[in-house]
């Protein structure tokens, strides 16, 4: 159990997907203007990452040992179709939830965090449970980064940012600062 928690925490803060590994940058830059949207995007990400982890484990266990060269192709196809199916199911079952998360789902599919998770999980040889904790940790880490960025960006709207820095330059520099701050977690727990 301790190991699992460690995997989760590691993916969440120590090796934060966005701030340390540069995964999921598109939503991080694009959907971080409002805290509410950032939260929803984060929730959708946690969900899709969990689904991804499950399917990657399935592929790794039952398919890829026989055809290793199909790794990338099968990952992307399976994930994309699974998300598609989930999207349809959510739309049927809970239209309210779909309105909250739905628009983000197709965006997420082509997001490097998803494929990145599948590849990392494979490279590190995580089992089913480890993979799930990894996925949840990664998702929470993404959410954390997104929400922090969004709350800081909301504040910058009330301030007089120099003309030159408006837009993405400021976002990148805030991201750099956040990334610097998250370096404080480097090596966390590794000594014990």
């Amino acid at each position: 159990m301790g190991d699992l928690i460690w995997i989760l925490l590691s993916a969440m803060v120590v090796n934060n997907f966005t701030l340390a590994l540069f995964l999921g940058l598109c939503p991080f830059m694009g959907v971080s203007a409002r805290v509410e949207t950032a939260l929803r995007m984060g929730a959708a990400n946690v969900f899709v990452l969990t689904v991804t982890s499950l399917s990657a484990w399935f592929l790794n266990t039952f398919v890829l040992p026989y055809a290793p060269y199909l790794r990338l192709i099968s990952f992307i196809v399976v994930i994309a179709s699974l998300v598609q199916i989930v999207e349809i199911v959510i739309k049927k079952v809970s239209p309210a939830l779909f309105r909250q998360l739905g628009i983000f789902l197709p965006l997420i599919t082509t997001n490097c965090a998803i494929l990145g998770l599948a590849i990392f999980q494979t490279n590190r040889g995580y089992g089913l449970l480890e993979g799930l904790f990894f996925a949840v940790g990664a998702g929470l880490g993404l959410t954390l980064a997104l929400v922090l960025m969004a709350s800081i960006r909301e504040n910058t709207e009330l301030s007089s940012v120099p003309e030159l820095a408006k837009g993405m330059a400021l976002v990148l520099i805030i991201a750099g600062s956040l990334s610097l701050a998250f370096m404080g977690f480097a090596g966390l727990l590794s000594s014990s």
Partner: protein
């Protein structure tokens, strides 16, 4: 769509609509693997290859791809080329392949490639698609080089592994760490927007009647 010349198709992607610096696409590799110039070049070339290959295929088969499944088809085509690139890199430059790690595989989800397919290759003839892909690809390599150069020179005191300042140079380790990636791109964007503003200002001065410009200069 506005009529464009083949020359424009090619040049557009390199600077004016640079995928990384202007359109903010493909940021993930642009930040993750640009800590050395060699990695930047390898990643740039691999992406260039995938982009060119997929544009060729997509443009060739555009008539036979049903509209509903086009995105999945593009992704499939891209994934195939990425697999090839992955294997090639592993065979030719194993050390670089190892340094790039998972990020070679992640070329699949580089939104820049997908956006070129959707926006251009699926609608244009093969030749123009190839020009466009080459332009965008070069633009991507250029952006990666700009990132990689700054980060390697400051972060290691070297360029392509060649020492520039002698042994006494104190490397700025941060530049090859994650924060350095964000900060370098942020800095480049600041520089570019400064250049743009300078240019806009000088253009404004040129538009003014001669007297005004002279008085301003005086």
């Amino acid at each position: 769509m506005r009529q464009t010349t083949p020359q424009m198709d090619f040049l557009r992607g390199i600077w004016r609509e640079n995928p990384v610096l202007i359109q903010m696409l493909g940021l993930c590799p642009a930040l993750a693997v640009t800590n050395t110039v060699a990695n930047s070049i390898a990643m740039g070339v691999a992406t260039f290859f995938v982009l060119l290959g997929s544009s060729l295929l997509v443009s060739t088969f555009k008539r036979w791809v049903p509209h509903e499944v086009r995105i999945s088809t593009y992704v499939l085509i891209i994934a195939t080329f990425v697999t090839i690139a992955d294997m090639l890199l592993e065979a030719v430059v194993p050390t670089v392949h190892k340094a790039l790690g998972a990020f070679v595989g992640l070329i699949v989800v580089n939104c820049m490639i997908l956006s070129r397919q959707e926006a251009f290759a699926s609608k244009q003839p093969i030749g123009r698609s190839l020009l466009d892909a080459a332009g965008t690809g070069f633009g991507f390599i250029l952006a990666l080089l700009m990132m990689g150069a700054v980060r390697e020179v400051l972060g290691n005191g070297t360029f392509l592994g060649i020492s520039l300042f002698g042994p006494n140079f104190e490397p700025w380790v941060i530049m090859i760490l994650p924060p350095g990636g964000f900060l370098t791109l942020g800095l480049w964007l600041l520089v570019l927007s400064w250049i743009q503003r300078r240019r806009a200002e000088s253009a404004k001065v040129a538009d003014w009647p001669a007297g005004v410009a002279q008085r301003r200069a005086a």
